[in-house]
Symmetry: C2
Subunit: 563 residues, 2 copies
């Protein structure tokens, strides 16, 4: 796939020194857009307006999951799209077939020549904490071209940011010390729902994925052992033919590893501290565990709930782990995939501790316990409250499908054309757009926390450290506050300059995006982060921009007549 | 994209006459699976079990969206995957890097040779109404190979079936006479979340999509006009340079179409029946509508809510539509994207009727009204209850992300290996798997409705028309009923035979799958279909299979000891 994506190559010889690979998913093409972007392109072209320089803001209106922050992600894929934006002849002829036959042929010549060399993209760095109404991306360029980018940009950013935020929220509840594994591929919304989920959950703070394709594409660490089917595919220990296992140091070979396992099982069974916990364990499970250990003596991690965790899975696991221990191998751990995870993990821990104590196997008590099975923020929180002994969580469905809120509502609004600011009105004030080409600054307070994001017109002076500045709510006239910033960070950076010759930011590596995300969240004031009734982070406009918004609003809104 | 998918070609020379294209999304490869499928494959191989013939059932446990039916979709993509299932050397070396270095080299030779020529796939026809616990797909083949298919099969079927079901539910509420448009690309979970949504919503009964890539890949009808940005990109009518428009029959040219529009606007303004409804309309909107009509005189459909629907959008639209009418063109309609859609659509209809009456323009009153803006099953239902005049609904976010329930829980369970039936137990009875290689029959009653699905062992005689048969709930011994079927339909058909030489079903065209879906739902008894408290459709097992399940269950479950 990597090879394929690269083969797409940059489709036009851009004068900048950078070569940007094509989109990770080859299905991301200039046709991945809404038909109305083409009908509009035609209407702009027909009116001679297609080259008018337009500025669009991409932003969302509300943080997801009842929280007060969002992680911005998906930027790199947008840049990969525009760096290689060019219609093929096949695509042109499909567009022609899809538009009315009355459309003039010269329009298709225009489409043939389109690329993003006249487009500039300013964006907040991927992996940043971001807030409602603040443009995540500002796209400038010929209006017809930038409109074509609306749908793919919003598509590439909406889910990426949503699932990265979901991952960050899971990390927040789980705590820093736990291992978080993304197991969502099978339940994701389509193949690259799965692949993107793996990428953006990693950015949001997960440690690894089960998804091999994502591991290959993005270098994300992979994890996985076996399923219930593996366990039930064995009928009995008689099936195991080759029972020999070399010791860890290679010094000797145990010819009948199965007998050692069985010996340990009966020893455990008669341990005074465990006596009565279990009787006969399931023999197909014992065979499966033994066989798995023979294949992976250095990586033995067993799923223990196929038949019965306490009465079969854990004792069978311990017998195999002790037999491995005899040969110098350390078992990796167990996975629980059903039942009361808090209770079962505590019981497993007690069992392991008892074995460590009774047989003097150092470290056995600390064997890793993984848990999976429909976990989400709420169940992690509930597990924390009950107390549990889980070291690693495998999270799938609720994480990757963003079950608690399956969409982020990013929009892409025209804010300026031909240097004229534009506004989109709505009866719902929260849907009124903030006009003008803007700059955005994050102002930090004395304690190092970010206090407020402020948007101002392009030509206003930037806020200065130590100087008092008035921050106004964009639509509520009574909400305003003076801030004396201790640090000022400009948020929008140039990520694509086309042929303008300006320098553009380099696209950072995935690990660096992940680190940015983790650090940004650590820097947030804790009350913005809490799960219950978090404090909204403030987003404001400068006094000058405030006045201008309201001037434009009055100008555009029709005056009603009461009758 | 089509070309790429085809270029993947069948990767091995299969003896069947069929050539099946590769997956629609080139990211669907044999690596699109969980790592544990490879660790298990190694453990099976190491134990010499990898070629044991296994049978897996793919099924779900609960219908989505609080309903009592599901539409099965995604089969074709599964067949495309297995028809071309082969590891590249690059993929092999990545797998090698991902497994412990202790794994033997000969295993990778084994992987190199893997394809699906020994695999058989039986499935219910795509587009069918299906029910919990009934296998949608039965996959048979060497255990190691079939395990590798688990994750991609479940991935390809889960979301496809979920979103097709969601679409069918939206169609059910909207009624047959409405046009349903899928507008979800921008909010979908990733690029092919969008593309698959378009495909499977079409199967579920939608009429068209806005997604150009999906239109191209699958031949789905495309729809789209313009957005708010198009409207606000215009400042005033002065911007319109070329104002000429040829009449529909080509007989004459109106040199100043804009003046005709303006003339009509003032006429409407002073119509006694509309007087006072509006004053000055927004001029940037008027310019945009006029310009759009000049570009698309035969397809004029305007988004009327950028400034104010009643006071600006509708009068502006009508002025342009009447000017078009003078030249022999018929305007297509309006789209509402905010506000009270029931009220606004009724007001728009009244306005159109008044114009038809006052100016004697036949058909003007029936101009199409489209509505969009966060629609879902509930809002469609509420609109129906309030009464509305909407002819077409554009549905996005809630449809494609399946917001009401973002995942379907399809699972893939081992039911037989080496001719030995297997069962997966669970403390939660609903999670116990139904063992054995099975056949499934749908039994129809006197009135033509399907009554019950019954699963039976492979070698049991099929139910016969007119003969009484006992249908038992698989786990609840008191739930059973005799049925005398008037028609018996075997549900699982062979869709992939590998090299066995058996005949396999042809993959039907998308339209045929869509027709199947629509017909199947029409055939269902209405109480299974209703939104509130639908009656569950019955799923049963034969008496013989029932006895066998419970024999195996007792055999595998450990016996507890009360203390």
């Amino acid at each position: 796939m990597e090879a394929k994506a690269k083969a797409n190559g940059p489709r036009y010889g851009d004068s900048s020194a950078r070569v940007v690979d094509g989109p990770t998913n080859p299905m991301v093409s200039p046709l991945l857009t809404d038909l109305y972007q083409f009908t509009m392109a035609y209407a702009y072209w027909k009116a001679g307006k297609h080259k008018e320089r337009a500025v669009f803001d991409l932003y969302f209106r509300k943080n997801p999951f009842g929280g007060e922050y969002t992680i911005f992600a998906g930027l790199e894929e947008c840049i990969r799209l525009i760096a290689n934006f060019k219609f093929t002849e096949e695509e042109i002829s499909f567009i022609k077939k899809s538009l009315p036959s009355s459309c003039e042929d010269a329009f298709y010549d225009y489409l043939r020549g389109i690329n993003c060399s006249d487009v500039e993209v300013y964006a907040i760095s991927e992996g940043s904490a971001v807030f409602p109404k603040v443009p995540l991306v500002r796209v400038e360029g010929p209006v017809a071209v930038v409109q074509l980018l609306e749908t793919p940009f919003v598509n590439l950013i909406n889910y990426a940011s949503l699932v990265a935020t979901n991952a960050a929220r899971h990390r927040f509840v789980a705590g820093k010390s736990k291992i978080l594994l993304e197991f969502g591929l099978r339940r994701a919304q389509g193949p690259d729902g799965g692949i993107s989920a793996s990428k953006y959950c990693y950015i949001g703070g997960f440690d690894a994925t089960s998804n091999v394709a994502a591991g290959r594409l993005f270098g994300i660490p992979l994890r996985g052992t076996h399923s219930h089917a593996f366990v039930s595919s064995f009928m009995s220990p008689d099936e195991i033919i080759d029972k020999s296992l070399r010791s860890s140091d290679g010094s000797r070979t145990c010819e009948d590893f199965l007998s050692v396992v069985q010996m340990w099982l009966s020893k455990i069974q008669w341990l005074p501290s465990l006596h009565g916990t279990f009787g006969d364990t399931n023999q197909s499970e014992l065979a499966a565990f033994t066989s798995y250990a023979l294949a992976f003596p250095t990586d033995f991690l067993a799923l223990v709930d196929t038949y019965d965790v306490i009465r079969s899975g854990i004792p069978n696991f311990c017998a195999v782990a002790l037999a491995l221990n005899d040969l110098g191998y350390q078992a990796k751990g167990i996975r629980l995939d059903s039942g009361d995870l808090a209770y079962l993990s505590c019981e497993a821990r007690k069992f392991f501790m008892a074995i460590e104590k009774e047989f003097g196997v150092p470290g056995f008590g600390k064997i890793s316990i993984s848990a999976s099975n429909d976990l989400n923020e709420e169940t992690l929180d509930a597990l924390n409250k009950q107390g549990h002994e889980v070291d690693a969580f495998g999270i799938g469905t609720y994480l990757v499908t963003c079950y608690a809120q399956a969409a982020l509502g990013c929009v892409f609004k025209l804010v300026e054309i031909n240097n004229q600011p534009r506004i989109k009105l709505s009866e719902d004030v929260s849907k009124v757009s903030i006009p003008c080409k803007k700059r955005i600054f994050r102002l930090y307070g004395k304690e190092g926390y970010p206090l407020v994001d402020i948007m101002s017109g392009e030509n206003e002076p930037a806020p200065k450290v130590g100087e008092r500045i008035l921050c106004r709510h964009p639509f509520n006239e009574s909400k305003r506050a003076y801030v004396v910033p201790q640090q000022v960070e400009e948020l929008l950076k140039c990520y694509w300059t086309g042929k303008s010759g300006k320098a553009a930011e380099r696209l950072p590596a995935l690990k660096d995006i992940r680190n940015r995300c983790i650090k940004q969240l650590e820097k947030m004031r804790p009350d913005h982060m809490r799960r219950l009734n978090p404090t909204p982070y403030k987003v404001s406009v400068s006094a000058k921009l405030y006045d201008f918004i309201h001037f434009l609003w009055l100008n555009e809104a029709p005056v009603g007549e009461l009758q």
